[in-house]
Symmetry: C2
């Protein structure tokens, strides 16, 4: 059965966050000290502590006799030092990326390994387990998730919908193609990777689109760190993106937000994989850009070769990127006028072409965004590289686990308690 | 000084909502009964009750001797029946709109009055007071705001930023033109209407852009009632809109969201008031549409005359609306791909032209939105008419007042308490 939702369970989650925040701030505290600081009734506090201890997030410390021998001191509670290893995995089309953070939410490591696009899910999960073992130093199979009790996973696909904040026990994906109209057409089976990972690790698996997760990663650890309203665009084999709105990942009503690659830029233009025509993706994907360059007589089999041509100052390569950058800038300006982000982050392999692409993007954005917004939005290149999606998976868990506070930690809860 | 923000004050607000929700559900309760049901410590509960009583949201009921004479029964607390009259005012460019709701959040009335565009603020506020008096039946000056203690106000202008949820005591507007770059360039003086209304009524005044408030109004009481992700477009003298994201009004990082009218649809096109060129507003505003119709030789001085021409089936009027509708549909499709709303609401005077405009909007939206989204988003005509902005002002107060629960009430807090 799903855990109860609604305001009361949100309130309970708020209480848990309060207690975890106090322990993070002050270190070990007795039940009495926690009671004084948190303002909760004894019954409520003890209930919450019992759950936090049962989950492994909090451990009790054996009391020692004080030197003055004033009798048996109270048992103290502390955050579990072995807990809170959070894992994110990005199952990209042709490679796997994993990342881990510790209890302090510091990145402890990341790893990537390319593979064939047709590698079966079973083998991808084995590969993931091996990479995670190499990160955590525990070796395969010895992974301890502790307090977190969930893995955040990114997968390819426009319609993967993230789990609701309190639905950790009911993994599901919604809104798959062919399911019929409306977002309310019922539950669909879990994604194969959710089933496999849960079998392997015995924990819930939070799932979302990996490009959306990259947006979240960049908004927390990357180019837009700390940004509350962030627009992320990825220029890769596909063109996609994600929105962070008010500090949270925005999914849209049916899990199809951030589809900037399918905004029409050339009405009646080339056919797109999505079924539409003239989408940004038909102009700004790696294949589209390479094709356009080769149509001018240029030679480049892949992005690194295109980058070489750009660095050599080949006019036709520069022309292509100028035109593509203009289209991208138009789309960014439209979305910017609609949403009003403070930061736009552009990532993906094509950004390796540098200013030849970024400069026309920025110029066109500037020309097409409302004049009054021009100096309020900042365009930046992504900084997390290929592990952005795996890091976003971790952020998803940190955001949505009922047992851990919002990341980044933000204003310390305990500070509010001590200020007048 | 501003009230404290951050998680703890959010927690406190959650506690207040819990108590108000219990009183709304169960009617009069004693302090002891409230304590049993809410799970808060005695100290926290008594603190919160003291504040709710002081604010007028809650009143104490004199205990009567019970028939069986078992001693003096406990004093009970109940929602103040005289409280909770919420008021919204839309100070539009050429007219004033007011609306009021009762404690049950039912609309008790609305009124509008046109005025000259250059009417001074003092006289607009006098007019507002008179209209409000006519609604509440109390007569001018006798208005009781009771528990609400705030007025929600819509004004014209792209850069009006709403107050944060807990900033009721520090009215301000941010991001006015010429203030320099960046959203953090300091506080600016309050809007004149805030000063005047506060002088007159002695309560805080929550302010936002009136088109954005119309979006909120339609999402709560209108065409998109209950929608969590709503895109609202208004086709009037200007072209603007608003976004409701996850049930809340989305303002963007610097209060400039929902500017759909300034998305470029004709690069190098007509000059727009915003300083850009080829914006949707240069094509789809009332003036632009009338001008385009007159350029074909048609005669229409205003929208009602255009509506007549459309109803008479004049081909040039239909052609103009076909073309304009196409541009609107393209913009809506782009924003839809970016944000993924479940409902798009189109309002404003131009929608009175009916299917001649709505049909090409819908068709172009369908053609340009990602095929997989086509049947997931519903296009609707606005239903609240000219008082949408005033109703949105009320919604703003109900959403953001620390003393009142989120509207619509949503899952009842008390139900969570009684379920296993």
């Amino acid at each position: 059965m799903a855990p109860p939702r609604g305001p009361l369970s949100q309130l309970r989650r708020g209480h848990e966050e309060l207690v975890l925040g106090l322990l993070r701030k002050h270190g070990p505290l007795s039940r009495g000290e926690l009671g004084k600081r948190c303002g909760l009734s004894r019954t409520t506090l003890y209930d919450i502590l019992a759950e936090l201890v049962a989950s492994g997030a909090v451990v009790t410390a054996s009391p020692q006799e004080t030197p003055r021998g004033r009798g048996r001191p109270a048992e103290t509670l502390t955050l579990n030092p072995d807990a809170g290893q959070a894992i994110g995995i990005d199952f990209a089309r042709r490679g796997l990326h994993v990342a881990a953070v510790n209890l302090a939410h510091e990145i402890v490591g990341s790893a990537s390994e390319p593979h064939d696009a047709d590698l079966p899910w079973e083998q991808r999960v084995e590969l993931a387990e091996r990479l995670i073992g190499s990160l955590t130093g525990t070796g395969s199979g010895a992974l301890r998730l502790g307090a977190l009790d969930a893995i955040g996973v990114g997968v390819v696909g426009a319609q993967v919908e993230g789990l609701p904040a309190e639905g950790l026990s009911e993994e599901r994906t919604k809104g798959r193609e062919g399911e019929g109209p409306g977002p309310e057409s019922g539950e669909t089976p879990p994604h194969p990777v959710q089933v496999l990972l849960r079998e392997r690790f015995g924990v819930p698996v939070l799932l979302d689109n990996n490009t959306r997760l990259a947006a979240l990663g960049e908004a927390i650890w990357g180019a837009a760190a700390g940004g509350q309203d962030v627009l992320y665009l990825r220029l890769s084999h596909g063109v996609g993106g994600g929105l962070v709105v008010g500090g949270s990942l925005h999914r849209g009503a049916y899990g199809l937000s951030g589809e900037f690659g399918h905004i029409t830029v050339e009405p009646g233009g080339a056919r797109c994989d999505c079924g539409g025509t003239g989408c940004l993706e038909t102009v700004a994907s790696i294949r589209a850009v390479l094709d356009a360059y080769r149509a001018t007589g240029g030679r480049a089999a892949d992005v690194p070769e295109l980058v070489k041509a750009v660095r050599a100052g080949e006019p036709s390569a520069l022309d292509v990127l100028e035109r593509v950058g203009g289209r991208i800038g138009e789309v960014l300006a439209a979305v910017c006028n609609a949403i009003g982000p403070s930061v736009i982050v552009v990532g993906g392999e094509l950004v390796e072409t540098g200013q030849a692409l970024v400069e026309p993007i920025e110029r066109t954005l500037h020309d097409h965004v409302m004049p009054v917004s021009r100096h309020r939005v900042s365009l930046r290149r992504a900084t997390l590289g290929e592990v952005a999606g795996a890091l976003g998976g971790i952020a998803l868990v940190l955001h949505e686990s009922p047992l851990l506070s919002r990341y980044p930690a933000g204003p310390d809860l305990a500070e509010d308690l001590t200020s007048p």
